[in-house]
């Protein structure tokens, strides 16, 4: 068994360098600890972002402006998105990458461990700066997370600090992405060819290229906002010869690949979990790799579908409509491959599988509304309405977030050496399923009925579905605490987990003990048949 070689370094931990708390957690160079830091940070950010969404849905529960001023409401919608995207989803996936990529490729750590630590530690400071803007005179940014000028330039000091925070987050992401690419391309154990590599590593490799390509573009866009505001440039001010629409093009050139940055790792997670619980290898592994690459490539050439009402020339609108519709093809290929993985498998429904199945169904619903949004004549009615809000929350919450939750339940035994309580985890899943759909499905109807986005109050005719949606939100707010309770309980009282708690799981991470020792694969493992999910398959 390859476990022998893989755990030879276990001995090191027995007499390990006794690190102080500060050394271990503030000056870490360990991919597992840094992964844990990212995941804990993202968990706290998810709760903060969710609290903001509770303020939003509280105001929107009934017509009339009962609780907050419109300006504060706009700050909530703006900050909710910034916190969830840059503080919740992205750091969670980086945390998963840190924990799992070295384990999956048989590497001792990430290629650049100190830069890895710095990448993490930038984030608490960046978000302290961002959240602090809520307490400035004039409040936080209130122009939407997309920061369109001229509106975003009307917000006093908040804009400046928001931009600085975004710069810091961008630097963190770029360094993290460099680390992922350097690690995957250089540190795979002998025998792990690229087309035998776990699919989670593939999706992260591709995501890392997207990050390096587009985070600098965001940095450029927000820097131009900064100089327009404080240094009298006119990039986006027509009176000075500039163009507000140019900002949108630059922003969305970042923004569209950004949404694929947020979903590709989830595709990878689900592609690891579904085969395990179907007891059958991932169907069409190579097709899945190529489809992911196709999605990534296409993601660069569709950005203006976020801008169909801005007054683009007809040719531009037609081109972006066609290109956007094309993304449905490789995405559909992935969905069909997941379903076919289950076909003629032997399926069990532990918590990671439940979350993954829900991902496939509900992300597909989000994908369908995305395809509808691509159709420009229809988009003229959907754009800037709750139909768009429904779409992106389906792909981000029941898509990306469900992928993160599935991954945590799946790899929890490996990280902690404990099993969570399966009944409690199933309760968490079903509770979430009810409330997440109550929360977001009616928003499709609201958009189709004509309710715009980013409004704190509305006509009575929109009241009924808004109340349903708000009830969904209040139920959802319980769920992170529920999950915390389940996982915390497992640390104390959970059953001891074996190295391979899921009998059909494949991958090098399952060849090391649970919990994984602080240092693993100090020497490269010898890969045996059956160790890898795609290692000894001819295709």
């Amino acid at each position: 068994m390859s476990t022998h070689t893989a755990t030879a370094d276990h001995h090191h931990d027995a007499h390990d360098h006794r690190q102080s708390f500060v050394d271990r957690w503030f000056f870490s160079t360990n991919h597992k600890d840094i992964g844990t830091l990212y995941l804990l940070f993202s968990f706290v950010m998810f709760i903060i972002g969710a609290a903001m969404s509770v303020v939003i849905r509280l105001e929107l529960a009934v017509p009339g402006l009962q609780h907050v001023s419109p300006h504060f409401f706009n700050q909530m919608t703006t900050m909710h998105a910034l916190v969830m995207i840059f503080g919740g989803v992205m750091p969670a996936f980086v945390g998963l990458a840190n924990w799992m990529i070295p384990l999956q490729i048989g590497a001792p750590d990430m290629a650049l461990p100190r830069m890895n630590n710095w990448s993490f530690w930038i984030l608490p400071f960046a978000f302290a700066m961002l959240l602090m803007t809520l307490f400035l005179p004039g409040g936080g940014p209130g122009g939407g997370w997309t920061l369109y000028p001229p509106l975003s330039l009307q917000f006093g000091q908040a804009t400046a600090f928001t931009i600085f925070a975004i710069h810091m987050m961008g630097i963190s992401s770029i360094m993290g992405a460099i680390n992922v690419i350097a690690t995957i391309l250089n540190m795979r154990a002998p025998g792990i060819d690229l087309l035998k590599m776990p699919i989670f590593c593939w999706t992260w490799l591709i995501t890392a290229f997207l990050l390096i390509a587009v985070m600098p573009v965001l940095a450029g866009a927000v820097t131009m906002l900064l100089t327009d505001k404080f240094f009298a440039t006119s990039f986006f001010n027509a009176a000075g010869g500039g163009d507000p629409v140019m900002y949108q093009h630059i922003f969305w050139f970042f923004g569209h690949p950004e949404v694929y940055i947020m979903i590709l790792p989830a595709f990878g997670v689900v592609s690891e979990i579904i085969p395990t619980f179907s007891r059958k290898p991932l169907f069409g592994y190579q097709a899945m790799v190529y489809a992911t690459a196709a999605i990534a490539f296409l993601s660069f050439i569709v950005w203006a579908h976020h801008m169909f009402t801005v007054g683009m020339p007809l040719g531009g609108e037609i081109y972006f409509m066609f290109a956007t519709m094309l993304i449905a093809i490789p995405t559909g290929v992935k969905v069909f491959n997941w379903v076919t993985t289950m076909w003629r498998g032997s399926i069990s429904f532990e918590a990671p599988m439940l979350w993954s199945i829900a991902f496939v169904i509900l992300f597909s619903i989000g994908g369908f509304s995305g395809l509808m949004l691509a159709i420009v004549p229809a988009d003229f009615q959907y754009h800037d309405t709750y139909f768009v809000v429904a779409h992106f929350h389906y792909v981000l919450v029941t898509g990306a977030l469900f992928g993160i939750i599935a991954a945590v339940y799946y790899w929890w035994p490996k990280w902690t050496g404990r099993m969570y309580n399966e009944t409690a985890a199933k309760f968490h899943f079903w509770w979430t399923m009810v409330f997440v759909n109550l929360l977001f499905f009616p928003q499709h109807f609201l958009g189709l009925a004509g309710m715009p986005r980013r409004i704190p109050d509305y006509n009575v005719v929109f009241a009924d579905w808004n109340l349903v949606s708000s009830i969904g939100a209040f139920g959802m707010f319980v769920t992170p605490f529920l999950m915390f309770g389940i996982l915390f309980h497992s640390l104390k009282k959970g059953a001891i987990a074996p190295a391979r708690p899921w009998e059909s799981a494949r991958g090098l991470e399952w060849t090391v003990p649970s919990p994984a020792p602080h240092h693993t694969f100090a020497t490269p493992p010898v890969i045996r048949d059956g160790d890898l999910a795609h290692g000894d398959v001819s295709h």
Binding site: H71, K280, M342, P452, I455
Partner: protein
């Protein structure tokens, strides 16, 4: 007591009646997009329904397959996995080609509709729409008539009351969807719009007309409409434009052509000429304005106080005022 005699059904009908007054507008528990009153809105609706139906069918097939698999191939019932069924080039080709065909079926009519919606040629009149924080200005080009259109007083009062009751809102069925001066337009006339803004990006949207177009400072966007049925059509600003984004609705009053001609003449006679560039509120605008609590908040928070319904300052100054 009389009330006890009203059946629940009767009450439901009564509850719906105020919305009948909204004419071609949204209704409670509404599920689907409306068909609207123009060719463009019909195009939007048809494109929407085609895409929706195709997606529902694909979803039904895929989810049924998943459901079947979850049932038939359960480990708990002893299913044995077929670990050799791991790839199939034939299937990959099939489920790439079939979606391409479905996309073409959607894209072809959508392109035709989009070309039609962009065709502003041969219009019979032009209206200039200007978005400002937080109102709309409409100028009938060539007629020397301009209207300033703001949220109606009753809505403005209700939205500033944190203790407003549901009954009060129900008693004002066009809450947040009504204005003091609607945009009056003739039916069965191809009307071209030129759309811009004074300060930040807004967006002009009336769902019943079937399109929206951003109002961008420094740019002029074009659109057109041809309203087939007289009526009142309501819409809202559809691009976040600051704190009163939700409070600058749009009302289009579509009337027979003769009635429009009469109305336009009366507007000219009343001297509703476009404002001078300094954009002071028009003469004769003598409405009482209550002090906006938001304005007080602004001062307390250290912001520039902005009067709630005042026209905006010139664009360049506003952008750099911070």
């Amino acid at each position: 007591m009389r009330q006890a005699r009203f059946s629940r059904w009767g009450l439901a009908v009564l509850a719906w009646l105020p919305f009948a007054a909204l004419a071609a507008g949204p209704s409670p528990w509404q599920l689907n997009m409306g068909r609207g009153v123009t060719e463009s809105s019909r195009h939007a609706y048809d494109a929407h329904m085609l895409a929706l139906i195709i997606c529902v069918v694909i979803g039904a097939v895929v989810f049924a397959a998943m459901g079947y698999a979850m049932f038939k191939f359960r480990h708990s019932k002893g299913a044995v996995p077929d670990t050799s069924f791991t790839h199939s080039t034939k299937l990959e080709v099939l489920w790439t080609v079939v979606p391409v065909i479905l996309l073409v079926i959607m894209a072809v009519p959508a392109t035709a509709k989009l070309i039609a919606m962009y065709d502003t040629r041969d219009s019979q009149m032009t209206v200039k729409v200007t978005g400002a924080q937080w109102l709309w200005k409409y100028e009938y080009l060539g007629e020397n008539v301009e209207i300033v259109s703001r949220l109606d007083n009753e809505s403005n009062r209700l939205r500033q009351d944190p203790h407003v009751t549901r009954a009060q809102l129900d008693a004002h069925p066009s809450y947040l969807l009504d204005v003091d001066n609607p945009l009056v337009l003739p039916v069965n006339t191809k009307i071209r719009f030129v759309i811009t803004a004074d300060d930040v990006i807004h967006s002009w949207w009336v769902p019943a007309l079937g399109w929206k177009q951003d109002a961008i400072p420094g740019l002029i966007n074009e659109a057109w409409t041809d309203i087939k049925e007289p009526g009142i059509y309501r819409g809202q600003c559809a691009e976040l434009c600051g704190k009163d984004h939700a409070f600058m609705p749009i009302v289009v009053k579509a009337v027979p052509q003769e009635e429009f001609a009469v109305w336009l003449a009366s507007q000219k006679a009343a001297g509703s000429a476009p404002d001078a560039p300094s954009q002071i509120p028009g003469q004769g605008d003598t409405r009482e304005r209550s002090v906006d609590p938001d304005m007080i908040d602004d001062v307390q928070e250290g912001e520039e106080p902005t009067a709630p319904q005042a026209p905006a300052a010139a664009p360049a100054d506003a952008a750099s005022a911070g």
